[in-house]
């Protein structure tokens, strides 16, 4: 691992690391061997580049060097690695070494391997960040506030399962792609969400995870240009991320969408996101990510909160809840219902949802009760929301909302 140095060097490291690991996994069929060899190649680069200068194609240099390192390792300790890797060694001895050309599909294959449904969700997440995004184990541990040994063990077990159970390195066939793609998209979305509202801790946003998720979504969109849901996911992430600068106050506190200073939204990201949404609308193959992106595009269109086209948002939520009939979608739909048909109607719908452990359920309920003038019930709902919220900034926001209701009425009796 080279000295991280400037962010540009770090980024270059991550990008070429993901590419090189993916190419070596294709060549040798062994993740550990690929990772070790790429690490060695970077160590060599850190030694040599300061003297020789950075080669014209650093990524190609890393991949070719890593391949040669892997071959050296195979020669030295061939029994440590699988049969497939040994077969490569045999092939190499008969055909001369050449410059290693990366195949664009390498990383795609690796993503599908990392997000294989035979691996647990947490393992999928850690593997994707490590192998595809090029994050180091301590970085992943820090990002998820998980002890480093836990992440390390998760990675070891996942890699062992890939090897032992022979999870293949390949793109799913067409018929299977539809059922496998959602796993990949879910991992990217999870990385983003974990960054956008950290599930624990006091900081609201962990920017590096959001950036990483957008980078992965861009990569997927580039590699699978014909999948509308991939574009939908990228649009959703961009439109959400665009609001980040306005989402926290100067003191780090949470600012609601309705109260945000919209001049602080990132216009370039919004334009890119809206462009993608328009492309999706033209294709007319709606899916959950595209619809969520479209909802965010409507928000982005409104110059002020009061100018939001809630009817259109509600129509999109109707479509979304038909596709994804989950309580969380129904909860978000309630927010739109409240704007179009009033808080009373929304409160009635909310009563049918079973989301007792979810802080946003109680927060939404509290807000509706407040708007209906039922302060005592609203305060109790805020209390429930505060109990369920794990993020410090969110909790602080809810406490402020509760206290803004005024002095607590004395308990009856």
């Amino acid at each position: 691992m080279p000295d991280p140095g400037t962010p540009a060097v770090e980024r270059a490291f991550r990008e070429s690391s993901g590419r090189a690991v993916a190419t070596l996994v294709r060549l040798f069929g062994d993740i550990d061997l690929a990772e070790e060899a790429v690490q060695e190649a970077f160590a060599t680069a850190a030694e040599r580049w300061p003297e020789t200068g950075v080669p014209p194609n650093p990524g190609g240099w890393i991949t070719t060097t890593a391949r040669n390192k892997a071959l050296d390792r195979l020669r030295r300790e061939s029994s440590r690695y699988g049969r497939e890797a040994q077969a490569v060694l045999l092939r190499e001895q008969t055909s001369p070494a050449r410059e290693e050309e990366p195949v664009p599909d390498d990383r795609l294959r690796l993503i599908f391997t990392c997000c294989h449904p035979a691996l647990g969700a947490e393992a999928q997440l850690a593997l994707t960040l490590r192998l595809v995004a090029g994050l180091q184990t301590p970085e992943i541990a820090r990002a998820f506030l998980t002890p480093e040994p836990t992440i390390a063990q998760r990675l070891v077990r996942a890699k062992r399962k890939i090897r032992d159970a022979k999870i293949p390195y390949r793109m799913p066939r067409d018929a299977e792609l539809t059922s496998r793609l959602p796993f990949v998209l879910a991992v990217v979305y999870l990385v983003f969400n974990e960054g956008y509202t950290a599930s624990a801790g006091d900081e609201l946003v962990r920017t590096e995870l959001c950036a990483e998720a957008i980078r992965l979504a861009r990569l997927l969109a580039e590699l699978m240009p014909d999948e509308p849901e991939v574009r939908g996911l990228l649009a959703l992430l961009l439109l959400t991320e665009a609001r980040r600068p306005a989402r926290t106050g100067a003191d780090g506190s949470l600012v609601r969408l309705a109260d945000q200073d919209r001049t602080r939204w990132d216009r370039a990201m919004i334009a890119e996101g809206q462009d993608l949404v328009r492309g999706c609308l033209r294709r007319n193959q709606p899916g959950p990510y595209q619809l969520q992106a479209a909802i965010n595009a409507v928000h982005a269109d409104a110059p002020a909160a009061a100018a939001t086209d809630w009817r259109q948002i509600l129509a999109l939520y109707d479509q979304l809840s038909a596709l994804v009939p989950t309580p969380v979608v129904a909860l978000n739909r309630c927010v739109a219902v409240a704007e179009v048909h009033g808080p009373g109607v929304a409160l009635g719908l909310l009563g049918q949802l079973d989301l007792d452990g979810y802080h946003l359920f109680h927060a939404t309920r509290a807000d509706l009760l407040r708007r209906l003038g039922r302060a005592a019930e609203a305060a109790a709902a805020y209390d429930a929301a505060i109990r369920c919220a794990a993020n410090g900034a969110e909790r602080a926001f809810l406490i402020r909302q509760r206290d803004a209701l005024g002095p607590r009425p004395r308990p009856a009796g």
């Binding site: 049969r83 035979a118 159970a165 022979k166 999870i167 293949p168 390949r170 299977e176």
Partner: protein
């Protein structure tokens, strides 16, 4: 190629399937067996009699102790299995999906050690 065990887990205490359901499962499993054989991936398969028919032997203090009944007193027991020889986990999963439908029970997929 890798050999995989497709183990059928049956949960005891579940309501007994009807005669008709049993016949249907036998027929479906028979059809799957033929399909496995003609695809050239079949190694072995068989259904097991209930755990009450099991006997356990173990070496203990230099002696072989024999006990009646299954080794683990759990509700979930091995009900039968297939052994197939296929390229990778995705291929094994394809067959396992058919298997779980045919035998109407959960199927666990485990690779054999390479020899």
């Amino acid at each position: 190629m890798t050999q995989y065990l497709l183990a059928v887990h049956s949960v005891e205490g579940q309501p007994m399937p009807s005669e008709e359901q049993m016949q249907q499962a036998y027929k479906a499993v028979g059809a799957l067996n033929s399909e496995l054989q003609s695809a050239g991936v079949w190694v072995f398969a068989g259904g097991l009699l209930p755990p009450s028919s099991a006997t356990v032997v173990r070496a203990q203090g230099g002696q072989i102790v024999t006990t009646d009944g299954p080794f683990a007193e759990t509700k979930e027991q091995l009900g039968g299995f297939w052994i197939i020889d296929v390229a990778d986990l995705d291929a094994a999963l394809d067959w396992a999906r058919k298997a779980t439908v045919a035998c109407a029970n959960p199927v666990e997929i485990r690779p054999f050690q390479e020899v």
